[in-house]
């Protein structure tokens, strides 16, 4: 029996919510970033589920692109976080307080 699409979407929405909350409450830049990755994976799950439901491949192609973009984001993000960490020895976003107002 085929699993109804709603099951996948429920999981996807929950994952996305967990990711969103993670971004909002976490303080370490790396953990925030991991939460964003969780959101992106929730999106991929939804895309693939929709793709199967609708019977066309666009969703899966889009999931490929999203994976690639996520990978590129990882590299750029790590570069930024690492360079900031090298300068200040801390990855806590609350310590980033030079810019205020």
């Amino acid at each position: 029996m085929r699993t109804p699409i709603s099951y996948f979407l429920v999981v996807s929405v929950l994952l996305f919510t967990v990711g969103t909350v993670g971004v909002l409450i976490r303080k370490n830049a790396l953990l925030i970033f991991m939460s964003v990755e969780l959101q992106l994976n929730a999106v991929n799950l939804a895309l693939v589920a929709f793709s199967r439901q609708l019977g066309n491949l666009t969703g899966q192609v889009l999931a490929f692109f999203s994976m690639v973009v996520a990978a590129a984001e990882v590299v750029v993000g790590l570069a930024i976080i690492v360079s900031l960490y090298r300068k200040r020895r801390s990855a806590d976003v609350d310590d980033a307080s030079l810019l205020r107002g």
Binding site: I32, V43, G77, I80
Partner: protein, 508 residues
């Protein structure tokens, strides 16, 4: 009345079979190919030739941008030819004057930003070759997003420009603030990308396609609950609101603008906003046009809050970059007023506003860069006291930009505001116009304050470093061009509106 009734007759997207690969026409993306090609060459050149002269990199970048602009001008005529398709590469890229117009605006801003960037890197002593390829990649992303006719393309172009800009924001290795700004920009940008992508997924789930005209076709024919499509609209709005820096998704803007090297700030304040709004207009006025009555109230509210919050928060600032950042937030609100009108007139007004905004913000940040000697100094208002005495040229140019940002005639900013308000009144949004006018009056205060400081206050010697105020001819040219354009569009707005008559039709 459906304001965009032309859109209702949208033909379905030409069905493409998986194997039937039509002829690939690359002409409409040639400007991007030029930009990316030059960027790749420069990247290699920089890696293979450690002794490369800085000037050569800058000149090659300028040549690439000029080439792309020249090709865009050719495209302006190419897209009107009877045999030219309305979209190419399997419906991924649109070929219309709408994108050509925005491309030219973005390429103009990029050109000025390259001149400023050359000067900035020299002065700050941070000459590193990656600056130029990154700038070109970001520019390619910005121009590509204006042509994106498919949500996949919108997303990819958005990421190309964002990823390059995250890195450019953190380009100053010496200043901690730059790295900090970069991190904040990156985290919030990635967060917003996730929302945007989820919106795309929902739009795909609701319609089974990611092609913008096809989505419109599907949505207009759909009966019954539109829950998924509405969810998609909401998520896409959030994603775009982040990128155009609309309140309440504006938190990254002041920090990123202040921390970034000033030349980068000039580039991204103009380029990102123009690019994101171009995509905003296309996605909302093409793909989501059947839902216009559903998204209108939200964009309406977004515009109102953005104008008020951006305008009010700018008053309290003492750092001029931060003040301009809040001002750019407020301007996003004014442009949203034009978007809310969702009419041909509204689109035209928004396009005019974006062109005027790009000229004045790139110029204003340019002057700020010239005044802040060697990198990031003299950023407080006190440094501008008596600037008219020390450097009449820079003071006069900055005064033009301030008047334009405040929306005072005879500048482009005035015409831009009037035209978006007019479009909004036509669409029946007079409360929004009322809010807009009131915030403009408040906003005029802090723009005029800068002019008063420059012209009516005495400069206290020894207070701040003064030597080397933008004497370089390159810098002067870089701020003179936008100033002239600001005045030109203000005195002869018909020039630009004439172009817009042809450019405001979104073909698909």
């Amino acid at each position: 009345m459906l304001a965009l009734s032309i859109l209702a007759q949208a033909p379905p997207a030409t069905p493409q079979t998986a194997t039937g690969h039509g002829p690939l026409i690359f002409t409409p993306v040639a400007p991007e190919l030029i930009l990316v090609g030059v960027a790749l060459i420069l990247l290699l050149y920089d890696a293979l030739e450690p002794q490369r002269p800085h000037l050569a990199l800058a000149l090659a970048t300028l040549a690439g941008i000029a080439g792309a602009a020249a090709y865009s001008v050719y495209l302006w005529f190419w897209v009107q030819r009877p045999d030219s398709p309305s979209s190419v590469l399997q419906g991924m890229v649109a070929a219309d004057r709408f994108t050509v117009f925005f491309r030219l605006v973005i390429l103009g801003a990029a050109f000025i930003a390259t001149l400023l960037g050359y000067l900035y890197l020299e002065r700050a002593g941070e000459v590193r070759g990656e600056y130029y390829p990154l700038l070109l990649f970001a520019t390619a992303g910005m121009t590509l997003i204006t042509a994106a006719n498919d949500l996949i393309m919108v997303f990819l172009a958005l990421e190309i420009l964002s990823l390059s800009l995250y890195l450019m924001t953190g380009f100053s290795l010496r200043r901690l603030a730059s790295a900090e700004a970069s991190m904040k920009y990156f985290l919030l940008g990635a967060f917003s990308s996730a929302f945007f992508l989820y919106g795309i997924a929902f739009a795909y789930g609701a319609t089974g396609t990611t092609n913008l005209p096809a989505i419109a076709h599907k949505l207009s024919g759909q009966v019954g609950p539109l829950a998924l499509a509405l969810g998609a609209t909401g998520l896409l709005t959030v994603g775009f609101a982040f990128k155009v820096a609309a309140v309440p998704f504006h938190m990254w803007t002041p920090d990123a603008y202040q921390g970034a090297p000033t030349s980068v700030t000039a580039f991204m304040s103009a380029g990102t906003k123009v690019a994101a709004f171009a995509a905003f207009l296309r996605v909302f006025d093409v793909a989501l046009s059947p839902l216009v009555w559903d998204w209108k109230p939200f964009v309406w509210a977004l515009a109102a809050i953005t104008m008020v919050v951006g305008g009010v928060l700018a008053i309290a600032q003492t750092n001029i970059k931060r003040m301009l950042a809040y001002s750019s937030i407020a301007h996003a609100g004014f442009i949203l007023v034009g978007v809310t009108a969702a009419s041909r007139q509204g689109i035209e007004a928004s396009m005019f506003y974006l062109a005027a905004y790009a000229a004045m913000i790139v110029g204003a940040f340019g002057v700020v860069m010239l005044v802040s000697v060697r990198g990031e100094r003299n950023l407080n208002f006190s440094s501008y006291a008596g600037l008219a005495r020390r450097d009449p040229f820079l003071a006069a140019v900055l005064a033009v930009f301030m008047l334009s940002l405040a929306g005072i005639p005879p500048t482009a900013g005035f015409i831009a505001k009037v035209s978006v308000f007019e479009a909004a009144v036509q669409a029946g949004h007079w409360p929004l116009v009322l809010i807009g006018v009131l915030t403009s009056v408040i906003a005029a205060f802090y723009y005029i304050r800068v002019i008063v400081l420059m012209y009516m206050q005495e400069y206290l010697p020894g207070q701040e470093e003064t030597e080397g105020l933008g004497r370089e001819p390159v810098g002067r040219i870089a701020v003179a061009i936008p100033a002239l354009l600001t005045l030109l569009f203000g005195v002869f707005p018909g020039v630009l509106f004439g172009l817009l008559k042809a450019a405001s039709v979104i073909r698909f």
